[in-house]
């Protein structure tokens, strides 16, 4: 108990950040029309591709003689990039179909 309390106390900033971000995520998309569900899912998919940043950091920190780490890290970079690039491009293609219609009612 003591332990958990102090863990929470030490990470207060993070907890606020977390809660605010979660609430913001909920509020931001809470009124999306059904036709946008798929593109929105795809766009969100591209955004979590930010995990690539972690892969890059891993690679930057891997020592040049740790081949295992390099191999795994390289795979991670490729996969993360796939997520980012593929995600944004697919979303853009999906949304292309909206461009012709000037206004779309909910």
């Amino acid at each position: 108990m003591e332990n958990i309390l102090s863990f929470i106390g030490d990470n207060m900033d993070m907890i606020y950040f977390l809660i605010l971000a979660v609430l913001l995520g909920v509020e931001v998309i809470s009124k999306v029309p059904a036709i946008l569900h798929t593109p929105l899912m795809s766009g969100a998919n591209a955004i979590h591709g930010v995990v690539i940043v972690g892969a890059i950091i891993v690679m930057l920190q891997a020592s040049p003689d740790d081949y295992v780490a390099q191999a795994i890290g390289f795979t991670a970079v490729v996969m993360g990039t796939l997520n980012v690039v593929g995600g944004f491009v697919v979303t853009d293609r999906m949304l292309e179909m909206f461009k012709k219609k000037p206004t779309i009612k909910k």
């Binding site: 971000a21 899912m41 766009g43 998919n45 955004i47 930010v50 972690g54 491009v89 999906m94 779309i104």
Partner: protein, 468 residues
């Protein structure tokens, strides 16, 4: 100095993610929103490459491999995303989502290899805990997404194993226990870590396997928010704010989106995941219904009826996509327009198997956007319509949603096609649609059936209409 700029770059990226997501949820701004989030991502990536410094700012290297990885990923991702057919996009999203999950899991693995628990500051090894969570969620997301991908590609069949539900529960329990064990018995390079990896991968497979192929969009959306959470755990590990914001936002927005998608189909998430009716899809062969009988219409009669109408509304459904009949459908539409018939399309929000499915399909066949009418817009006009042609749609025109309180789809808004003067239904037999329920509409006096594969029937109709 450069660290500050790095932090500011992450701030900018985080902001673009919020703004992008916000813009993505409005039709007019969606495309720009995607672009903005993409630019923010670029900023985050390049800032990391050029500005990231380790604590001892020394052993930073591997630039070559990083750039190579980025290049390879960019090229492959770009080609895949550009070449994929409009109608295969959901599986593409699922694939990319799986890549993200795998990336998160791999990060956890590498970090675990270096992780020395004896260096921890407090009795609770937060970093280890985060790695375990990141590994598990990332792996589940990876294997689950690939299964979803396979299902949508038609390569993996829906299959419910005996005691599937109980088995999944047991696996979940095993994963939790294993995590607790790893936390309690925290030593460097504990091999149990890799057992956790395997369990998580298997769980992802078992989790998605029994769910009906048609429910995959919902599952993908759920796995999408999983990957978001996994990315956020990566962010925790490095105290990286861009990963945190992006991951958490997607985690929470993705969850809401999943719920919204279920709501649009008038179902609950548990219902989808436990496969109340998702897994029991009937094939193409018709099953005749009790004592009622349906009226058929010949190609010839249908062609005449259509040619001499003033207004025709086409209701596309899942069957149109299955038959890949969108091009021939557009041809019929143009032919009729030439004859002075006013033709429009009535798009139900959940027609097909993903939101926007019909829009994508028809856009592919160059049907102009002005002709696709949304449900709320077209419903009041249906009573002035001469003929409604229902092409491979079923649930979205089922009057039970309005009349029958005991129906599983009761309450879902439908296209009220029975208000029109005539209804022609193109389908192969009498089998049910996605929801697996009978459709009374087929037995209405004003309804005529035109049995056969949608593409075949439409082709014949086109030739006949040309003759008239």
């Amino acid at each position: 100095m450069s660290l500050n700029i790095l932090e500011i770059s992450y701030l900018i990226a985080s902001l673009t993610f919020v703004i992008g997501l916000k813009m993505l949820s409005h039709p007019d701004t969606a495309r720009k929103g995607n672009l903005i989030a993409g630019l923010g991502m670029l900023v985050a990536i390049f800032a990391t490459i050029f500005l990231f410094q380790d604590y001892d700012s020394s052993k930073i290297a591997n630039y070559g491999l990083i750039v190579l990885g980025l290049l390879v990923g960019t090229i492959i991702g770009n080609i895949m995303a550009k070449k994929v057919k409009m109608t295969s996009m959901p599986q593409m999203v699922s694939f990319f989502n799986g890549m993200g999950g795998a990336c998160a899991a791999l990060i956890a693995i590498i970090e675990f290899r270096h992780h020395d628990p004896s260096l921890r500051l407090s009795s609770f090894d937060g970093a280890m805990f985060i790695m375990l969570l990141g590994l598990t969620i990332g792996s589940v997301s990876f294997s689950g997404s690939l299964i979803a991908f396979g299902k949508l590609e038609g390569k993996i069949k829906d299959r419910v194993l005996p005691f599937n539900q109980a088995f999944n529960m047991a696996m979940l329990l095993a994963i939790v226990i294993l995590m607790v064990v790893l936390m309690m018995n925290n030593q460097m390079n504990n091999p149990l870590f890799y057992l956790l990896l395997v369990l998580a991968l298997v769980y992802g497979v078992m989790f998605v396997m029994p769910i009906g192929g048609a429910d995959m969009p919902v599952v993908i959306s759920l796995l999408n928010s999983f990957t978001g959470v996994a990315a956020a755990f990566g962010g925790f590990l490095y105290g990286n704010k861009a990963m945190l914001t992006g991951g958490i936002l997607v985690g929470s927005a993705g969850t809401i989106l999943t719920i919204l998608m279920c709501k649009a189909m008038n179902r609950s998430l548990t219902n989808v995941l436990l496969g109340a009716f998702g897994g029991t899809k009937a094939g193409g062969s018709g099953k005749e219904v009790g004592d009622q009988s349906v009226a058929e219409i010949s190609i010839n009669d249908a062609a005449v009826l259509l040619s001499y109408s003033h207004s025709v509304v086409i209701v596309p459904g899942y069957g149109l996509a299955v038959a890949q009949a969108q091009h021939i459908c557009h041809e019929l539409d143009q032919l009729l327009e030439e004859k002075g018939v006013e033709v429009s399309y009535a798009i139900h929000p959940v027609a097909g198997r993903m939101p926007g499915h019909m829009n994508v399909l028809l856009a592919e066949a160059d049907v102009p956007y002005e002709k696709m009418k949304e449900m709320d817009e077209i419903n009041p006009k249906l009573s002035n319509t001469d003929v409604v042609i229902v092409i491979g749609a079923n649930d979205v025109v089922n009057p039970a949603a309005k009349n029958d309180t005991s129906s599983p789809i009761y309450g879902m808004p439908i296209l009220e096609v029975d208000a029109a003067k005539n209804v022609i239904i193109l389908k192969r037999g009498m089998s049910t649609g996605y929801a697996g329920i009978e459709n009374e509409l087929f037995f209405y006096p004003k309804t005529k059936m035109l049995f056969g594969d949608a593409k075949d029937s439409l082709q014949k109709l086109v030739s006949e209409v040309k003759e008239v």
